[in-house]
Amino acid sequence: MAVEEHSAPTSFVQKYIFSQDHKVIGLQYIFTALFMAIVGGGLAVMIRTQITWPEKAMVTPEAYLSLVTMHGTIMVFFVVSLALVSGFGNFLIPLMIGARDMAYPLLNMLSYWTIVPACLLVLVSFVVEGGAAAAGWTAYPPLSALPEAVPGSGLGQTLWLLAMALFIVSFTMGGLNYIVTILNCRAKGMSLMRMPLTIWTYFMSSILGVLSFPPLTAAAIMLLLDRHGGTSFFLPDGLVFNNEVLAHEGGTPLLFQHLFWFLGHPEVYVLVLPGIGITFDLIATFARRPVFGYKTSVYALVVVGFLSMIVWGHHMYVTGMNPYVGEYFSVATVLITAPFAVLGMNLVASLWRSRIRMEVPMYWALGTVAVIGLGGFGGLFLATSISDIYFHDSFFVVGHFHLMIGVVTVLSIFAGLYHWFPKMFGRVMNARLGKLHFWLTYVPMVTLFFLMHLQGMSGLLRRYYDHSIYEFQKPGQELALAITLLTYTAFAAQGIFFWNFFRSMFSGEKVGENPWNATTVEWTTPSPAGHGNWPGALPVIDRHPYDYDPAAAEDKDYNPQGVVA
């Protein structure tokens, strides 16, 4: 199937605003995500400041809960998902499979313009009465259902739910587009088992997203109805506020948690798999040898994807769910470490007998590998239901999920930006600043989230406005200052990135179509790539994606995957 035809844009608005070109849309997503990242990162700085110096009471307790809730929501859905899944996904998929564009360019444009109002709703919710949503990014009812329960559960929570609904609509359009494009628009010769691993991860990620988001849509609608329509899907009998019993009866709060995590857990893999795919591709490119275990990695990705759909209950071990059900979820969840370990081993083994070039993207890619290991092993402590009794809702959880869906993803977003910047803008980013940015981001970020594991181990609980009134939280709290200073450092270091990014866009060194001597086919078209991606005929794929040879002369150690006639 060919891409739905659309002619080259003729006006500024067509080209840069309501564009149907996947590359422009990809960049629109990335720019939107970078903006939201400043907001989400700013919230993190405020959270850290409050809990490090609680006696200063920088914010009120209710505002603090809004900070926590919106930081999570923005970072998961409006930063990592937008940049990594929607941004890079859009930019890379047609270019890496040798297609002119996405299968449905108009749908693609609609997908982006659906996320813009969602972002606006999120931002506006900070200034409405009662403040932004405050029930956590997980929005568990009854807390999220009743304005009586917390001020943020007024208009703020309604806007949150509407923003989530728009996000899901947008993601579903994008995900379907990815699946169709990958299945139907590959260049001649690009069999599934010749796709770069980045594309495999986007494929799995889209399938997971499209399968798992609908239950959250249902949950969001049911919660809206409970809030505004008088229904009781999630609200049981006998809820007492201010000595009055509410009229709700017959619902169960656990139902929402099942629906939420039916999405929530696959969502982790929706986010993290593309990061792993990009890491594979960058390691192959800069290690100058084929990926070790391409096939086993593909199978591992498929197994991870399947398992991720049937283990959502591991978020609910202590909720009152039947513990024997929890035991099933525990047995199934820990199995994920097996395919994950295959991915990890293949990443490391891809360096064996290699000839590593330490270009800037490689710093980020190698750094990511170690974080995948640390984050992955940390998951076992939480997946085992018995140890989770102690760790649940502690900072161990906070440290763990930040490593996986915060650090692995953010590192691979940066890796990808440094790597594909030439294809986006025809120029390269400054390497000296790129390395400085790496060290000032990597060391603080990894250290601070690692320290949170220790805090959790010592008993520190999450979502606390002030830990100081508890004796048992004092040992964990001793690490708070160090963590906060590291947060400030990592946040400030992004100034280096933004300066480098925008300056290089206009004055970076100009480069040709393949500055890294890479093999995948996006490097066979001019940088930046124009409308239709290849000026002439599309490339024809005649080999696997990683034909590097560390035995050959340095400038002849690769064979591109595709040939342009």
Partner: protein, 272 residues
């Protein structure tokens, strides 16, 4: 940027991973778990230590291999092309699969299952029963009184000060029920079963030194059970976000000898 110049090298980058691996494993080994004060808690700590040992060793190994590869192959020497057959790659994949299946399932099924029995199994007949009810932002504690039976409650009758749990006067079993705020008195060395309910939103009953954590769900009765092994006062906190006072939903569990527990109970007036 290597078309004309030689490509950039940095084999010393591998040192990062040695430092990373050693720092992570070394700091974890310092021991961060607070001393446990319950019987099953030793089992939980055992599972945690088992996972720390096994995954710590694997993580360290991974970091060392990664660092070694970066140092060895980062120097830029030409390498003979590594042709690894598909079969060999598949066989290599079996190694991590077997290791991880073994480590993780031994954790869940061998190490954790006996603890599972203690935490979720049928409590002994002589177990001590107490009810803890979460509400924004305090813990209400009910003792069944001399009859050993918790009386009927009706949320319509709940009043913050007059009748915080909504005890029903017409039920004789409710007449001797004792209700106190925030203080859970329990015996040492006898199993305590805590019946958990919530009045408004989800809370979570957690006593970290006992390794106990169980959500309290409105509309549902949950329970958690444990045996305190040491007398003393232990902090009780809320682990599930429950609103703006979540952080100050503090209580305490007072574990004491049978005589002193009985004396304390005898000194309490029934609520009604």
């Amino acid at each position: 940027m290597s078309e004309s110049n030689s490509p950039p090298r940095n084999p010393r980058f591998g040192i990062l991973f040695f430092v990373f691996g050693i720092a992570v494993v070394g700091t974890f080994a310092l021991g961060w778990l607070p001393d446990v004060k319950s019987a099953h808690g030793h089992g939980i700590d055992g599972v945690i230590r088992y996972l720390l040992g096994t995954t710590g060793a694997l993580f360290l190994l991974g970091c060392i291999v990664l660092g070694f590869f970066v140092m060895k192959y980062g120097r830029g020497e030409a390498q003979t092309r590594a042709i690894v057959s598909g079969k060999a790659q598949a066989l290599w994949a079996v190694v991590p699969v077997l290791i991880m299946c073994a480590i993780s399932e031994v954790g869940v099924l061998v190490m954790a299952l006996p603890v599972f029995g203690e935490v979720y199994g049928e409590p002994p007949a002589d177990a001590y029963h107490v009810e803890v009810v979460g509400k924004q932002f305090e813990w209400l504690v009910r003792y069944p009184g001399p009859d050993g039976v918790f009386g009927e409650v009706d949320h319509e009758k709940v009043h913050e000060t007059r009748n915080p749990l909504g005890l029903v006067k017409s039920d004789p079993a409710a007449l001797d029920d004792i209700v106190v705020r925030g203080k859970v008195h329990i015996p040492v060395d006898r199993m305590t079963v805590v019946h958990l309910r919530a009045l408004d939103v989800i809370h979570s009953f957690t006593v970290p030194l006992f390794r106990v954590k169980q959500d309290t769900l409105p509309g549902y009765e949950a329970f958690t059970q444990f045996t305190a092994t040491e007398a003393g006062t232990f902090e009780l906190a809320c682990a599930e976000l429950c609103g703006l006072g979540h952080y100050r939903m503090q209580g305490s569990v007072i574990a004491e000898s049978e005589e002193s527990l009985q004396n304390w109970l005898n000194g309490q007036e029934p609520w009604l």
